[in-house]
Symmetry: C2
Subunit: 420 residues, 2 copies
């Protein structure tokens, strides 16, 4: 039986509670012991402790101050699910206290903050994993697997989106938990949530491991969707009524890579649409297209015979041979389709073995800083801005990547300048 990871959890908003209910409490059986819970609204931490206790496990220590949990000898690792604003602050404090950090996703407010995160890791030697669950998505891991096997040929272009209509949740949540998120829509204009789509793309493009981003350019549409929605659905009594939102409805971001690839990201959260991460991978031998859930392999299709591409729609599940090993035997169908289970399994495995995580501080800094860079580029009319290399050259040949079942990077002989 595995040694259980002694975990503290900070932040019990919507995300923290989902993970507690769907991932951490079930994983108490074999993998984790929740020894402390924390929230600046202490009643939320109390409620979390109640849930743990009710599940049959010992009641965790409860506090409103995250610094308290970092002092506890019994805490090995900290899962940070607070609001975006303090992810980095808590992660840095955790590393400085010698606690393995697991940080939820979000964008960043400055490039400096990203460097601080990297510096904390390099100075302390304590690890931090960025818990980007979409890196473990079935579709994303299938594509990663296909790329690694060479099925798609050389990869030259990818795109992804955060296509998620948040208008209703903003309207309902204002004054409640998600209020901090909508405040970003009142004060900024940027790619404010890049990591769900960028993480999986960065991994398959070997970013920070043989490849890197060189430039970023961002462009924003006008901001019409949320104001119209608030006006029509909220009415004059709603606190958001009359607000002129600064955040454009659709923000398009273009990244160029030292390996010659282009990556397009789309933030798309305030217009009517279906949920979609628009994950697209294009290579010289084939491609994957989330928009119609298809895999397109060279020489398997003839425009003139088939008449149209609809014959390909939904065929992505017809290729069991390309399924990633992590998805081959099925995954517990918990929240977010199993991806949360996988990203926490990866995190807990890394903590248990005290090893370098599959999504590390360099990745965290790279993915999160898109937000700050895009804000600058938009403000300058789409001028390209330089993309920092947070590895400071280590991307040329990484030596710290650990190989296990959760590894997302190329390893061993396969590592290096392979795809350029």
């Amino acid at each position: 039986m595995k040694k259980k990871v002694r975990l503290a959890v900070a932040g019990f908003g919507e995300r923290g509670n989902c993970v507690l209910d769907d991932v951490l409490i079930p994983m108490q059986q074999d993998e984790v012991e929740i020894v402390a819970v924390c929230d600046i609204r202490v009643e939320r931490a109390q409620a979390a402790a109640d849930k743990v206790e009710k599940s049959g496990a010992p009641r965790p220590f409860v506090t409103a101050d995250y610094r308290e949990i970092l002092k506890m000898d019994t805490v090995e690792a900290v899962y940070i699910a607070t609001d975006w604003e303090v992810h980095t602050e808590i992660a840095i404090a955790a590393m400085k206290a010698g606690k393995y950090a697991g940080m939820e996703v979000g964008g960043t407010y400055s490039v400096a903050e990203c460097y601080d995160l990297v510096k904390a890791y390099e100075e302390t030697g304590t690890e931090c994993m960025f818990l980007e669950n979409c890196c473990y998505g079935q579709r994303e891991l299938r594509a990663l697997n296909m790329v690694r096997k060479g099925v798609l040929g050389k990869i030259v272009h990818c795109s992804g989106a955060y296509g998620h209509d948040l208008r209703k949740s903003f309207l309902e949540a204002h004054g409640k938990d998600r209020a901090y998120r909508v405040k970003n829509y009142m004060t900024r204009n940027c790619e404010n949530y890049p990591t769900h789509e960028l993480g999986p793309i960065a991994k398959l493009l070997d970013i920070n491991n043989g490849n890197k981003f060189l430039t970023l350019s961002s462009f924003s549409s006008s901001a019409k969707g949320l104001k119209e929605y608030v006006t029509e659905e909220g009415g004059p009594e709603h606190p958001l009524y009359g607000v002129d939102f600064t955040q454009g409805d659709i923000v398009t971001t273009v990244l160029t890579c030292s390996g010659g690839q282009t990556v397009i990201l789309t933030l798309d959260t305030t217009l009517p649409r279906y949920y979609c991460r628009g994950f697209t991978v294009r290579g010289t031998r084939g491609g994957c297209f989330e928009e119609n859930a298809s895999i397109f392999l060279d020489k398997t299709y003839d425009d003139k015979v088939e008449g149209n591409w609809k014959t390909q729609w939904g065929n992505e599940t017809n290729y069991p041979e390309y399924e990633h090993p992590l998805w081959k035997d099925g995954v517990a169908d918990d929240m977010h389709g199993g991806i949360d289970h996988l990203v926490f399994a990866a995190f807990l495995e890394a903590v248990r073995t005290n090893s370098h995580p599959p999504i590390d501080v360099y990745d965290a800094a790279t993915y999160m800083c898109v937000t700050a860079l895009s804000e600058q580029s938009i403000a300058m009319g789409g001028a390209p801005v330089a993309f920092p290399d947070f590895t400071n050259g280590k991307f040329v040949c990484r030596t710290d990547i650990v190989e296990n079942e959760y590894t997302l990077d190329r390893v061993g002989a396969d590592r290096g300048l392979h795809i350029v």
Copy 2:
């Protein structure tokens, strides 16, 4: 019975011959008389004349020199289907000779060439129509109709693509008709074929009629697809073997509009893929998504109930109430799904009534110049370049737009700064 338009046709490559066979010869019955045919390879003009004669019509005059047809009193209008290089030259010569020009699509080599086209029109008063058939596509006209009716709300973002795997045709055609096209892939790197997707988007965004493009930024992936294909499928004996193509596999172009919209164009011609123009229109009340042939209207869908967006796939034909009048009664299913029939019907109607065409020189210059601008932006690492206003301010309030069944612009009281 209508007066038949006395037409000369210049250029009998693949496109000219298709239009002759599928559109012009059938239209001889009621609409057109082909009085002259021209091709620098005169045997191709002879073959075209043979076809016309065989159809029962009088044999047209045959020449290798387009200047000859411009001298003919019997010629009212000229249809230009030569290679890209001389579209503008012939159109300008036609206008100067007082012949109504109908110009096939393609990109441009310089912004100056676009200004020359506009100047020829303004100086001669002779009209020129840009024959962008995709402006009359069923999907595109349906979206235009929905936009005009307000069904999609305020439009804030559009995208389109030329997603067409041309590798095989380049390999087979080298040394033959399409050779000039592949030569562009050996000497340039740009959005070389923007008009099919841009034309319909520009019309629904009221470009040159209340709205205009402000900036263009383009980004190119590396060029891997065509070389790999030539190497594997052509082999060492093929004339293209060993060529290092300059044209990136995927070129992404971002346009910003004075009305606040963003437009994304994708050139995607040298990697394996299905044919698709990726036409997407996004408004505050709904959107159209070609990638899965769907129409998405606000409040008709609930992520949580439906489970996933696949329930929407292919529903675009479920809205007969939004069908554009030109498609309502069905369209002759000739080449390219009826769109060639419609664009020629629009052209012949404009010539017959000697009126301003629905896609004019300002539109032609605007759509074509994307090619030259994108080449510059890519060369400057994606720096935004200024987009010319070829109307020189007339876009603020157009007075020359003609209303008939083929009109694509807003007209009458609906004209002006309506969507900003």
